[in-house]
C-alpha cells in the first residue's frame, strides 16, 4: 500500500502552483508599496528643495525672508552634537558589550541586563528626551547645551551600539580566544589583540548606523527645549545650539510655502548626510569581510 496517491497529487498540482504565483505577487506588491511611497517623497522633496540649495544656503543663518534663510547654525550645531555623541556612545557601548560578553559570568543578573538592553532599543525617543531633561539639563545643571543634548542622544543610541557590538564580539570564534588563553594571555590581552581586531568591522558598522540615527533624531531635542532658530554658531560644548532636524521642524511649521521649500532643502542635506554615513558603514562591512 502506498501513502502517496499520485493521481490526486497530479490533480492538485495546478492549484498549488497558482497559489505560489499569487503569493509571489502579494509579496512583490508589499515590497513595491514602501519603495513607491519613498520615491514619491523623494521626488517631492527634491523638486521643492533643490531650488534653495546653494552655497548661501550653507553659509546663511536662519532669516525671516525665506530666500535668505540658511542652515549655518543648524549644520555647525549638528557637527558639535556628533563630536559629543560619537566618542561617548561608542566608548560606553563597546565597553558594555565587552563587559557583558567577555567578563560577566553567566548569571540571572547578566541575562536580565542583556534582555533589557534589547528592550531599551525600543523605548520611544521622547522618553529619552525627558530623561535627558531631568538628569542632564536640570540635575547636573548642564542647561540647554550641546553637552546635555549629546549625552541624551548617546543614551538613546547606546542600546543599538551595545547590541551590534555584542553580536560582533560573539561572532569571533571561541577557538581564537582559547588559543590566546592557552598561551597565558590575560582576558584584556586577548580582547585587545584577538577579539577587537576581529570584531571592529561589525562594531564600526553598528556604531555608524546608530550615529546616523542620532543625527536625524528630533523628538529628544524638542523635549530638551533646544532652540529652533539661532543667529550664532556655538562657541563651546556648554553653549546652546540648534541642529538640522530642529531647523527643518521649525520651517515646516511656518505658514509661508517658501519656508516649506527651505525645509525640503534642509531635508536633502540631512538625507545626503545619512546616505554618506550609511555608505561608509556598508564600505567597512564589505571591505573587512570575515575571514573564518
Amino acid at each position: 500500500m502506498k501513502y502517496i496517491d499520485h493521481q490526486s497529487v497530479a490533480a492538485n498540482t495546478k492549484s498549488r502552483i497558482a497559489k505560489n504565483l499569487v503569493l509571489k505577487g502579494v509579496f512583490f506588491a508589499a515590497t513595491m508599496f514602501g519603495l513607491i511611497v519613498l520615491a514619491i517623497l523623494l521626488y517631492r522633496v527634491i523638486t521643492q528643495g533643490s531650488g534653495y540649495l546653494s552655497v548661501e544656503f550653507f553659509l546663511n543663518f536662519a532669516s525671516r525672508i525665506p530666500e535668505q534663510s540658511g542652515i549655518k547654525a543648524a549644520i555647525v550645531g549638528s557637527i558639535y552634537l556628533m563630536l559629543v555623541v560619537a566618542p561617548v556612545s561608542i566608548f560606553l557601548g563597546v565597553g558594555t558589550a565587552i563587559y557583558l560578553e567577555e567578563y560577566a559570568k553567566k548569571s540571572k543578573g547578566s541575562t536580565f541586563i542583556k534582555i533589557n538592553i534589547s528592550n531599551l532599543a525600543g523605548v520611544p525617543s521622547v522618553v529619552f528626551g525627558l530623561l535627558g531633561l531631568t538628569i542632564f539639563v536640570r540635575y547636573f545643571g548642564l542647561g540647554i547645551s550641546i553637552l546635555a543634548a549629546g549625552l541624551t542622544m548617546s543614551l538613546l543610541i547606546l542600546p543599538i551600539i551595545i547590541v551590534a557590538s555584542q553580536e560582533a564580539v560573539r561572532a569571533v570564534p571561541k577557538e581564537l580566544r582559547e588559543a590566546s588563553y592557552a598561551m597565558g594571555a590575560t582576558k584584556w590581552q586577548t580582547i585587545l589583540r584577538v577579539v577587537l581586531p576581529a570584531s571592529i568591522p561589525g562594531i564600526l558598522t553598528g556604531s555608524i548606523l546608530a550615529l546616523s540615527r542620532a543625527i536625524g533624531e528630533t523628538a529628544p531635542l524638542v523635549v530638551l527645549g533646544i532652540p529652533t532658530v539661532l543667529m550664532f554658531t556655538p562657541d563651546g560644548f556648554l553653549s546652546t545650539f540648534t541642529a538640522l532636524p530642529m531647523q527643518i521642524y521649525d520651517w515646516t511649521l511656518r505658514p509661508q510655502v517658501a519656508f516649506h521649500h527651505a525645509a525640503a532643502a534642509g531635508i536633502i542635506v540631512l538625507m545626503a548626510l545619512l546616505i554618506f554615513m550609511n555608505s561608509i558603514a556598508v564600505f567597512i562591512r564589505n571591505k573587512y569581510q570575515k575571514r573564518w
Binding site: 590566546s180 598561551m183 590575560t186
Partner: protein, 271 residues
C-alpha cells in the same frame, strides 16, 4: 639538529641505568563534574618528563577533559567543579595563589582544529612572546625563526612570513600552531587530538615532529587513533567512562595489557 641526535642517544642510556625520570605532572584523586555529570573519577596519573604520554579511549571517556584540566582551560566552562589535586612540578595547580597565566606559559597547548589567528604567520608565532613582554624586534625575529624551525615548517614559510596564516593548508596551519606554542618556550606541550582534522601526509609530519620534540619537551597527547598512540608514545593511559583503566608503557599496553577492557579496546572490539 645535532642536539636532538645527542639526546636521542642519551635516553636509552638513562633507561638502562634505571634512574627514574622526574615527574612533570602528578595527578592525585582528581574528580571533575560538569554540573551533575561526573566526568572524571579518581584519576591517578604520574606523567614523566621528556616522554610522550598518549591518552586513548572511546569518545566521551574524559580524555579531552583531562588534558584540558592540566592547563586549567577546562575552567572556561562555567559549570565545571573539581576535587583532588594535580601537581605540576610539585605544585598543586588548583592552589588559590597559582595564576593560570603563569601555568599556561609553562604548559603550551595544541588544539584539535588548527586555530591560527587571522594575522600574518610572523604575528601568529610572535603572539606569545609579545604578550609576555618581548618587544625587541631582533629577539622576536630569532624566536619566530627558532620556533618555526622547531615545528619543521621554516623552509615552507620563510619567504612569506607576512602573509596571512589562513592562506596555508590545514596541515601547515597546525604546524604554525605548534610553532606558536613553542614560541612561549614551554616545559610541557599538551596536544588534544592534533591530527584529527589533518590528511594522512600532514598527520605523518606532525607525528615525526612529536618524536623530535620529545627530547626537549614533555608531551601529552590525546588521540583517537590507536595506531598513532602505538607509533609515537612511550607511555599510554587508557581512559574509559571517566576512569583510568590502565596506565603503562606503550609496549606493554599494546602487546600484553593487564585489563580485559584495554585488550578489547585496542583489538577493536568496541570504541
Amino acid at each position: 639538529m645535532t642536539t636532538t641526535v645527542l639526546n636521542k642517544v642519551e635516553i636509552p642510556a638513562q633507561q638502562t641505568q634505571t634512574t627514574e625520570k622526574s615527574s612533570v605532572y602528578k595527578t592525585n584523586q582528581l574528580n571533575l563534574w560538569y554540573g551533575t555529570n561526573h566526568a572524571l573519577k579518581n584519576i591517578d596519573l604520574d606523567i614523566k618528563e621528556n616522554e610522550v604520554t598518549a591518552i586513548i579511549g572511546p569518545s566521551g571517556c574524559g580524555k579531552s577533559t583531562y588534558i584540558k584540566t592540566l592547563n586549567r582551560m577546562i575552567e572556561t566552562i562555567p559549570s565545571v567543579k573539581t576535587s583532588g589535586e594535580i601537581n605540576y612540578r610539585g605544585r598543586n595547580i588548583f592552589n588559590k595563589d597559582y595564576q593560570v597565566e603563569e601555568l599556561r606559559t609553562k604548559v603550551g597547548m595544541v588544539f584539535q582544529k588548527p586555530n591560527p589567528f587571522p594575522k600574518s604567520i610572523y604575528d601568529n608565532v610572535a603572539y606569545g612572546p609579545r604578550i609576555h613582554g618581548v618587544k625587541n624586534k631582533k629577539i622576536l625575529d630569532q624566536i619566530v625563526e627558532k620556533s618555526l624551525r622547531g615545528a619543521a615548517i621554516w623552509e615552507e614559510v620563510k619567504d612569506r612570513l607576512n602573509e596571512n596564516a589562513y592562506g596555508l593548508s590545514g596541515g601547515q596551519q597546525q604546524r604554525i600552531c605548534i610553532a606558536r606554542c613553542l614560541a612561549i618556550e614551554p616545559d610541557v606541550i599538551l596536544m588534544d587530538e592534533p591530527t584529527s582534522a589533518l590528511d594522512p601526509i600532514s598527520t605523518l609530519k606532525v607525528e615525526e615532529l612529536v618524536q623530535e620534540l620529545k627530547s626537549s619537551y614533555s608531551i601529552i597527547i590525546v588521540t583517537h587513533n590507536m595506531q598513532q598512540a602505538a607509533r609515537i608514545s612511550d607511555k599510554t593511559a587508557f581512559f574509559l567512562h571517566g576512569e583510568v583503566v590502565e596506565y603503562d608503557t606503550t609496549d606493554k599496553i599494546f602487546s600484553n595489557p593487564s585489563d580485559k577492557r584495554t585488550e578489547d579496546y585496542i583489538s577493536g572490539r568496541f570504541g
